[in-house]
């Protein structure tokens, strides 16, 4: 089959609408009679609802008010478990938990009314840290505050450690904080609902069928009376994977009671404080390595904070667990993983979904292990990279070509890593010497405060306080749902030919900026030998499109795109077999054939349902086997400057090299990597969620710091292609891969620049200062003392600095 569309940077399908401001997002539509809905939320992290008071100064008869009592079906957000209520009715388990809903014609009045509802809570002791959750003195969920546990074992870790072989043991503890997805379009939904017609919602979302299932349960309606339509969505990153079921249900409950359309658009503060974020994590590594640098045993304890309700924590945990031992060959591995409950607002999906957390810990740890055994970071990696035929920790034998060494070579070549690593080491040492010297010597009096020698050797106009570093991370990311997930999803995609000669793709996959519409057009056009402009992508509407599974897990191009390809081939074969089309034809001939076929037979349509590639074996109970159909493989390099006067870290250059099967659309693929790297840089250095009493205190874009155009380096992206036989034209999934590499690469670079044993993310300047220049025991600090870089990595765990309650 010819694939002329693959490798073409076909223009974004809906791009013209986006650059002209004509793309319609949910807040751009306002049907007649519409009300605005707002949410009354819990002021306490945990407790019993004693009373809900409505201040009589508000004319409540002008408002629509909904509480749990108004719910027609089950007061539960259907996802994995049924522990999260749509509206709290007797207890609350997190700040900002929804309790009541208010609607009014005028949005400002609805907001004003919301401020005049007081919820009285009899407090119960909240749990805010992983340690407190595990200590289980206070049980806030289930019987022991644990949503889920996994244990993955390979070989015999205990025996390996006890074996008394000539090994070096390196321990480390690594923590990552929460991260806010910060899509620039906040969550929003528009609903019409009534007992006669059922429920319809339009809005910002990644997964229409998740919402569909949730609403059917909330309203006790059969599937055909619930309809979910995706509108143009201004970013998702996982933050609109499962959360939109909540806001959709709320808008629909108000619409149901009001008998009018209701629109809910979250304010930014509310969106940040009340909706899901990336799971905070703590990873403990204990690694035995032979004296010549081979991994002997890896014992990993991986714990994530799921917040107050289960949401997707088991799956986040699963992915983090499977990625915890990385792309390395090690005979003995154990990963003990837990997702615990705390009284934070529930954490949820965010690009990477557990893998960034465990890979951050692993790749930072690998540099420390290398140092302990006297090898360079890359020499150590090369001795241990998996290759074809090796077995990963979870028992998956690698059956595809893997060349991590080759990726490393290319990344090093493009970034100038080796030369810079040596040069920065020398220059930092010299700069350190000069700083010490200049502190004691006298001024030379030529209008400058420091002797000329203090500036000698400064290259590129670099300030004397700046130290440079370069570091890398080697990693992988499984594409598609884990294990038997894709089989359970049974995703379907449909392609039809219309009477106008146009081809329509019907899939539940959503465009959220990553390029779904364009990729599907290219794939269908490629399969049919026509132009992407001849292909329409149906708006994801559960009344129209099949369930193609959620738009998550880096599966849309690889899994659903393949279904689109197959379905497209299906209608081609139909036309050829029916004699309407020769086996070789022009674009115009195709359109004519399409038209004629539909005129004759009424419908031209083919559907394709997911079947797993043969040979994949997965045991759900033992959690062993082929975890993913394929992996993307990558090496990322970060070059940083650390200003030791302010402890600020800047990324000066970033190189991202990855093998991802086949690049369908170079501009879109590059854009995905660049955007993911920028989010990774944000996560590593800037995006600190400040917690106060279980609520995000810095829930404003002024105070939650994401990178601006002045903060990102040049991000240089390189692709290697090793076609994956089961992806469309060989493509693998790439959406989440770029999230895994930046943080550990940056941390390794900072460690190189400063000698600081950085292990806790984000690495804000305040935290780096505390590491490099810890508080002196004596009260009056000597202001002329300079931070002393510590040369040896410490293997002592550092206490968590995250929950500033």
């Amino acid at each position: 089959m010819d694939v002329p569309q693959v490798g073409r940077s076909v223009l974004r399908k809906e791009g013209r609408a986006k650059v002209t401001g004509q793309a319609m997002y949910v807040d751009d539509v306002s049907p007649a009679g519409m009300l605005h809905g707002v949410t009354v939320r819990s002021p306490a992290a945990r407790g019993r609802i004693a009373a809900i008071r409505f201040d009589p100064v508000i004319p409540w008869d002008e408002f629509v008010v909904v509480t749990a009592a108004d719910i027609p079906g089950k007061n539960v957000v259907k996802l994995i478990l049924e522990d999260q209520p749509y509206l709290a009715h007797d207890v609350v388990n997190h700040r900002e938990e929804p309790i009541a809903l208010v609607a009014h014609r005028d949005r400002a009045r609805a907001e004003e009314a919301r401020r005049h509802v007081t919820v009285e809570i009899e407090p119960l002791p909240p749990v805010f840290t992983i340690d407190d959750a595990l200590a289980a003195r206070e049980i806030v969920w289930g019987t022991d505050n644990v949503f889920k546990r996994y244990m993955v074992q390979k070989g015999d870790v205990d025996a390996a450690f006890a074996g008394g072989g000539d090994v070096i043991v390196v321990e480390g503890e690594y923590e990552t904080g929460a991260q806010e997805q910060l899509y620039i379009e906040p969550n929003g939904m528009l609903a019409v609902a009534d007992p006669v017609h059922g429920v319809t919602v339009w809005g910002s979302m990644q997964c229409p069928y998740y919402i569909h299932k949730a609403l059917a349960g909330l309203f006790d309606l059969p599937p055909e009376r619930v309809r979910v339509v995706q509108m143009e969505t201004g970013g998702g990153f996982g933050g609109k994977e499962e959360f939109p079921s909540v806001i959709a249900g709320h808008a629909a409950l108000l619409a149901w009671k009001a008998g009018r359309p209701v629109k809910m658009i979250y304010g930014r503060d509310e969106d940040m404080a009340a909706t899901t974020k990336r799971h905070p994590s703590r990873t403990r590594h204990r690694t035995a390595v032979s004296r010549d640098g081979r991994l002997v045993a890896m014992d990993v304890e991986f714990t994530i904070d799921g917040g107050a309700y289960c949401t997707l924590s088991p799956v986040v945990l699963s992915r983090g667990t499977i990625h915890a031992a990385g792309p390395y060959s090690c005979p003995n591995v154990r990963v003990r993983a837990r997702a615990v409950a705390t009284n934070a607002p529930p954490h949820g999906a965010f690009r990477g979904f557990g893998a960034p957390q465990s890979l951050f810990a692993l790749e930072r740890h690998m540099d420390r292990v290398a140092a302990a055994v006297g090898l360079t970071p890359e020499a150590f990696r090369r001795k241990n990279f998996v290759t074809f035929g090796d077995t990963l920790a979870v028992g998956q034998t690698i059956k595809e070509p893997v060349d991590m060494g080759g990726l490393l070579d290319r990344a090093f070549d493009v970034s100038g890593y080796r030369d810079k690593r040596d040069r920065f080491t020398r220059e930092n040492a010299a700069a350190e010497q000069r700083e010490r010297a200049s502190r004691v010597s006298h001024a030379d009096g030529a209008g400058h405060g420091a002797p000329a020698s203090a500036r000698a050797g400064e290259s590129e106009g670099r300030s004397p306080s700046v130290r440079k570093g370069i570091g890398f991370a080697a990693f992988f990311h499984g594409a598609g749902f884990t294990g038997s997930g894709e089989v359970h999803l049974k995703s379907v995609a449909t392609v039809e030919g219309t009477i106008d000669g146009v081809v329509r793709v019907l899939a539940g996959s959503t465009e959220i900026g990553q390029g779904t519409n364009t990729i599907f057009s290219q794939i269908a056009a490629g399969a049919l030998g026509i132009d992407p402009d001849d292909v329409d992508i149906a708006q994801p509407d559960t009344a129209v499109v099949p369930d193609s599974g959620p738009t998550v897990a880096s599966r849309t191009c690889m899994v659903v795109g393949r279904l689109v390809e197959t379905a497209a081939l299906g209608i081609r074969h139909t036309l050829v077999d029916a004699g309407f089309l020769p086996s070789v034809y022009t674009r115009g001939e195709f359109q004519t054939a399409c038209r004629r076929y539909v005129e004759t037979f009424g419908t031209l349509r083919a559907s394709s349902q997911y079947t797993p590639p043969s040979g994949l074996v997965w045991d759900d109970e033992k959690y062993l086997g082929d975890a993913y159909g394929t992996y993307g493989w990558a090496v990322y390099v970060a070059e940083v400057s650390v200003d030791t006067a302010t402890w600020e870290t800047r990324v000066d250059d970033f190189v991202a090299v990855q093998e991802i099967g086949r690049v369908i659309n170079p501009t879109l693929a590059t854009g995905q990597i660049e955007g993911g790297v920028a989010q990774g840089i944000g996560w590593a250095l800037y995006e600190d969620v400040v917690w106060r009493e279980g609520r995000m205190a810095n829930s404003q874009m002024t105070n939650y710091i994401m990178p601006t155009s002045m903060d990102v380096p040049d991000i240089r992206v390189y692709f290697e292609e090793v076609p994956y036989p089961h992806g469309p034209s060989g493509a693998k999934g790439i959406g989440e891969l770029p999230m895994d590499g930046p943080a550990p690469a940056i941390f390794n670079a900072v460690a190189h620049a400063t000698g600081a044993d950085v292990t806790h993310l984000p690495l804000t300047p305040e935290r780096l200062m505390d590491l490099l220049s810890p508080p002196e025991p004596v009260a009056s600090a000597d202001p002329s003392s300079k931070p002393v870089a510590s040369a040896q990595p410490s293997s002592k765990p550092v206490a968590s600095a995250f929950r500033r309650n």
Partner: protein, 314 residues
């Protein structure tokens, strides 16, 4: 999302004298300049209802003029963009341009005003340290007349100013004696920040003859950032000795601080390690940084000292 606006009035008098009369006639009325501070507060639901008097038509509050003594008179309604583009400001008061370039992004700079920045009295504001280091003087007007106040005496405490009800900041005067033209003369009409290459922190430093000035803001990112520490300094050397020095620092006390004790520790001395250490100690005594949502007291204190050292050693 704005609150219900019933309780708010925004009137736009046709001239300065009308605006002053309006403020005098309505005790409690507040001036409204560019809106970049007040609208944020309004949208957060924290702006007190009442009467707001737009200064949009007060022509006397605009423009940048040379004064008789060779200094500058900057209208309170001058925007950050106008400051950045002013050849007159470039020719002598480059720290103020550096400060204007650090405030928000282009959109904020196009509307935000220097008078608003002063009157909003945030301890972390970007222009005050530069204004203090230039010994600025404020011209205040009301319906009963005008008066001048040294900027150094204007901020009395957290959000407390020497500004009586009905009074407006009209003009900001920068004296000729504190001007430091950049090397190579003035920049002409187009001003671009001399941004350093990526590996160098953004420090604005200019020099003429033996004068140098220095402006550095440390924030959580390179743009659109509220300051954690902001230091502005000017120093004139005679041989190995400090002939004169001015040091101002923001975001480390309830108001912007002129570090006079640190200046005293340096003036007339050789700029050696002991002098620098003495200045640093005096600076630490003069500031009172806090832990807040953006940073910690300890970080601010350490960085303040390091910026001073960087300034004095550059």
């Amino acid at each position: 999302m704005t609150p219900v606006l019933d309780g708010y009035q925004l009137v736009t008098p046709a001239s300065l004298s009308e605006a002053l009369a309006d403020l005098a006639a309505h005790p409690g009325a507040r001036p409204f300049a560019g809106g970049t501070d007040l609208m944020v507060v309004l949208e957060a639901g924290h702006l007190s209802p009442g009467r707001y008097v737009s200064l949009a038509k007060c022509a006397e509050l605009r423009g940048i003029e040379r004064t008789g003594d060779g200094g500058l008179s900057i209208g309170a309604l001058t925007t950050y963009t106008e400051i950045r583009q002013s050849a007159a400001i470039a020719d002598g008061f480059a720290m103020l341009q550096a400060a204007a370039a650090e405030t928000g992004g282009v959109a904020t700079q196009n509307r935000g005003t220097i008078g608003g920045n002063i009157a909003n009295a945030s301890p972390a504001a970007d222009t005050p340290p530069a204004l203090l280091a230039y010994d600025a003087e404020l011209e205040l007007v009301s319906s009963s007349g005008a008066r001048r106040v040294p900027y150094a005496a204007f901020h009395r405490g957290y959000k407390q100013m020497d500004l009586v009800p009905g009074e407006l900041i009209a003009r900001i005067h920068l004296p000729a004696r504190t001007a430091i033209p950049p090397e190579g003369g003035n920049h002409g009409d187009r001003v671009e920040e001399p941004l350093a290459p990526a590996s160098v922190p953004v420090v604005s430093a200019f020099r003429r003859n033996a004068w140098r000035d220095y402006y550095r803001k440390v924030g959580p990112r390179r743009a659109q950032a509220i300051s954690k520490v902001c230091l502005a300094g000017s120093i004139r050397m005679e041989g190995a000795g400090v002939a004169d020095v001015r040091i101002a620092i923001g975001a480390v006390a309830p108001t912007v601080v002129r570090a006079t004790a640190a200046e005293q520790a340096l003036r007339g001395r050789a700029l050696d390690a002991d002098a620098i250490a003495a200045a640093e100690r005096a600076l630490v005594e003069a500031i009172a940084p806090i832990d807040d949502i953006r940073s910690t007291a300890r970080y601010r204190s350490r960085v303040a000292v390091n910026l001073l050292r960087e300034f004095l050693r550059s």
